[in-house]
């Protein structure tokens, strides 16, 4: 009984409490923080994202080309052949 009374007194200790009020200059501090903060425009964010994507794309392209050298070699041979005669098929 005594135990339950004590528990109830603890549980009800916040009953009827007054609301606390923050410092009066808090709003001025918030205004100062808001003024200091310059949000990054969405244009700049999109530009940065596009640049990043382009960079990643170029990296992949370079990697892919470095792993497929034979294709470029074939193209070079063909180009040399075309340059020699200026014709795709030789006339005999």
């Amino acid at each position: 009984m005594e135990s339950q009374d004590w528990i109830n007194s603890v549980l009800n200790s916040t009953n009827g409490h007054q609301k606390a009020v923050p410092r009066k200059d808090l709003f001025m501090q918030i205004q100062a923080r808001v003024a200091d903060y310059e949000p990054i425009s969405t244009k700049i964010l999109w530009l940065a994202a596009a640049s990043l994507l382009l960079l990643i794309g170029l990296n992949f392209r370079t990697l892919w080309h470095s792993q497929h050298p034979t294709k470029s070699a074939v193209v070079q041979v063909m180009a040399a052949d075309v340059n020699k005669s200026n014709q795709l098929y030789s006339h005999e």
Partner: protein, 182 residues
């Protein structure tokens, strides 16, 4: 002062006591509650245009405040883990278990009991603590708490029930210690 600044000032005057008191009950530290109040209103200022009015403004502000409080507790716990060489604490709220906080709005004769209550609330799991603080201390109804916590009303009822049962048990253990001291 332009219109939006005037709106923001009105919003601050309408909700600053709500934000400050919730943070105070949750963190039990005056400086941290002021810090949270600042953070909340800076966020409100920047994201008010994106507020979609799916919930009420009050609910939205409650959510921002609770999220900021959780972030601060997490940050404090991670700092504590660093100090004790990386051993992980049992819950997010371990850091605050030994509350010695005296709420400025609580009657003087209830201060000792309130200290015990805050210390015991801090041992509850986070969702039980949130539901209990919003219900018992902030005086919100269960549907309002359900909206703030994004849960069903029955889930809130269950959380509050479990919180109360857990507090009863923990306080009865504390009572024996209290009796020994007397």
């Amino acid at each position: 002062m332009n219109a939006s600044e005037q709106d923001f000032q009105n919003l601050y005057h309408q909700y600053h006591i709500l934000v400050y008191n919730l943070a105070l009950h949750y963190l039990q530290n005056i400086e941290e509650a002021e810090e949270i109040t600042q953070d909340v209103f800076v966020q409100i200022y920047h994201s008010l245009e994106q507020f979609e009015q799916k919930s009420s403004l009050k609910t939205w502000i409650y959510r921002i405040t609770l999220n900021k409080c959780h972030d601060l507790i997490k940050h404090k716990n991670s700092r504590k883990r660093w100090f004790i060489f990386g051993t992980k604490s049992q819950s997010e709220t371990d850091y605050l278990n030994h509350s010695n906080f005296e709420h400025p709005g609580i009657l003087l004769e209830n201060q000792e009991q309130a200290k015990i209550l805050y210390a015991t609330i801090n041992t509850l799991p986070d969702n039980q603590k949130t539901a209990f603080v919003l219900s018992k201390i902030e005086g919100l109804s269960n549907p309002e708490i359900a909206e703030v916590m994004n849960l069903s009303i029955s889930a809130i009822e269950s959380l509050i029930f479990r919180a109360k049962a857990s507090l009863q048990q923990k306080l009865s253990e504390k009572f024996t210690e209290y009796r020994k001291k007397k």
